[in-house]
């Protein structure tokens, strides 16, 4: 083995360790690691740039711009308040309806955006019903991750997989939406079972909520119409990919351009609001993974994995599902999936395994495994931060007690689904 082989492994592990330690911002760590990969001569700048998946970046940036503008009209709040009203003030109904709304929103919006929109609503509803907001907060975390599994754009790991493996929006929907719905329903059922005694309110408080007028949430009707128009165009773009062959970045950035044209807003403000730290984190990761790939580390890992499963398709799929689940519970699922993508491709090349089920296993494990701990996914970290600030701190172990069993049950359902649908 050449020294670059060991240097790249060392660099990669050091970068991962620093990201996990959270001592330095993950974006800075990933970028510094990527630059070292190049400056230590492991890869050239050309190879690094080739490794950056601009389709993923364009899709993320486009959606961030569109949603950033659209949320100012109040339509997402309208839907959430409307759902609370439809629950006729009954806390359990409201809990279920808000949970479903979280799952649906997160299938089409980034999970962090979803929880930032939904957490304030849940606080307001819980305050009106005079019940503890914690069950709502924990439910919001869990359902944002299970719902985000359903589509190509629902969760960053899906965007990464879809872009790298050239899987269309519709294929994601057909293959992952059924299991995402099932796991979301099971999760909601278990949550209601756990929290049913806390979800009670007096008739008077119930009346307050059922008297909500959702229209008061809409602050800008012209913007609402434009936003619905642009979001419909984007969805249409994704649905018709097989005909138009337009890629995700083109569709999302096209939507962003249309949105900026229709609203005639100053683009400077909206472009500043793009989460550039996330975008640069992705760039750093892509380059780090190219480094590992280039020196043959990924191939070696793939060979080891095949030795372990003896090339058996069922065993390989389950190892990927549960391995991804466990890893994503402990570390951020984005770097994990970025590393796994070339590995899964390698499995196809080495053993000739059909890749479809392996991609679904990777997506399911990463998205749903992220639910297990408070640090498993970005949405979890964001909600726990807000909860602490508002005086409803969710402790790490308190969360584990609820989330580990629910995540475990979810992964069991995923195993059964993968087995019955793809492996028999």
């Amino acid at each position: 083995m050449e020294p670059t082989f060991y240097i790249s492994i060392l660099l990669f592990i050091a970068t991962y360790a620093l990201i996990i330690s959270e001592k330095i911002h993950r974006t800075v760590v990933a970028l510094a690691g990527a630059i070292l990969m190049i400056s230590l001569g492991i890869i050239t700048q050309e190879q690094a740039i080739e490794g950056v998946d601009f389709n993923t970046l364009g899709l993320l940036i486009g959606m961030m711009i569109v949603v950033g503008i659209a949320k100012d009209c109040g339509m997402f709040q309208y839907v959430a308040i409307w759902a609370s009203k439809m629950g006729k003030g009954k806390p359990i109904f409201i809990y279920i309806l808000l949970g479903l709304i979280v799952a649906i929103f997160s299938a089409f919006l980034d999970n962090v955006t979803t929880v930032l929109l939904m957490v304030p609503v849940t606080f307001v509803v819980a305050n009106n019903l005079k019940i503890d907001p914690k069950p709502f907060l924990i439910g919001t975390i869990l359902l944002s991750n299970t719902g985000g599994t359903a589509t190509l754009i629902g969760d960053p790991p899906n965007i990464l997989i879809g872009s790298a493996a050239n899987i269309s929006f519709n294929e994601f929907l057909i293959n992952l939406a059924p299991i995402s719905l099932l796991v979301s329903l099971v999760t909601l059922g278990l949550l209601v079972l756990i929290y049913r005694k806390k979800l009670v309110a007096t008739p008077e408080d119930q009346r307050t909520v059922s008297n909500f007028n959702p229209r008061e949430a809409i602050s800008d009707v012209p913007l609402l119409k434009k936003s619905l128009f642009v979001l419909s165009i984007i969805l249409l773009g994704f649905f018709t990919h097989s005909v138009t062959h337009l890629e995700g970045a083109t569709i999302a950035l096209g939507g962003a351009a249309l949105m900026l044209l229709l609203t005639m807003h100053d683009p400077e403000h909206h472009l500043k609001n793009v989460e550039w730290t996330t975008i640069f984190f992705f760039i750093g990761l892509f380059i780090l993974v190219v480094g590992l790939e280039h020196v043959g580390v990924i191939k070696l890992l793939a060979i080891k994995l095949l030795e372990l499963t003896q090339g058996n398709m069922t065993a390989t799929t389950m190892v990927i599902l549960w391995g991804s689940g466990i890893f994503s519970a402990l570390i951020d699922n984005i770097p994990f999936v970025a590393t796994m993508i070339p590995l899964v491709k390698e499995l196809g090349t080495l053993a000739g395994l059909p890749l479809g089920p392996l991609w679904w296993a990777l997506a399911l494990g990463a998205d749903i495994g992220g639910n297990a701990t408070l640090v498993g996914a970005s949405a979890n970290v964001v909600v726990s931060g807000i909860a602490t600030r508002e005086g409803h701190k969710i402790s790490f172990t308190e969360y584990l007690k609820i989330a580990i069993p629910i995540t475990f049950v979810g992964l069991i359902f995923c195993s059964l689904y993968l087995f019955v649908r793809y492996l028999i």
Binding site: P120, F123, N128, T208, A217, I386, R389, E390
Partner: protein, 157 residues
């Protein structure tokens, strides 16, 4: 009308009777001080050293939960009793938690033009005036500047 050709300085227009509050005082004490002093702005200071400014807007911002500050669409739906509930939750919070930090200060020998620039640039209401040892000696606010303008224009007070 003849414009006076003199340099207006902070020391001639500032107020020396400053109402201060300690950074460790509570929300309740801050409200009491504002009510009895008939003022909307207090200088947060300890042993003469300025730590911050506390305005009635700071009190209101602290009262509104963060999750609503970021989402105006939900204002109409918040439970009515939250006004009372929030106040009882925050009444013992210390002033340093919700005061405005990073205050701009000015020295009494500086010009009113400089004071005006600070007030307009940072869109603030008042500036604490300190001496060379950074000890609080007074403060100057928008009203004081307005009085100086009226003086130049030779308007009757």
């Amino acid at each position: 009308m003849m414009i006076k050709n003199t340099v207006y300085r902070v020391k001639d227009w500032m107020q020396t009777d400053v109402i201060t509050i300690s950074p460790s005082a509570t929300f309740t004490q801050a409200v009491a001080t504002m009510v009895t002093g008939h003022t909307n702005g207090l200088v947060v200071a300890e042993k003469g050293i300025v730590h911050g400014i506390l305005s009635s807007m700071d009190l209101i911002r602290h009262l509104v939960p963060d999750y609503l500050e970021e989402d105006k669409h939900l204002a109409a739906f918040e439970s009515g009793d939250q006004f009372v509930t929030r106040i009882s939750e925050i009444k013992n919070d210390s002033v340093k938690k919700f005061m405005t930090r990073d205050v701009h200060t000015i020295k009494s020998s500086h010009t009113l033009m400089e004071a005006a620039i600070l007030l307009s640039e940072f869109n603030i209401r008042q500036i604490p005036v300190v001496d060379d040892a950074h000890k609080l000696v007074g403060y100057i606010n928008r009203t004081d500047i307005k009085k100086a303008i009226a003086d130049i224009l030779e308007l009757d007070a």
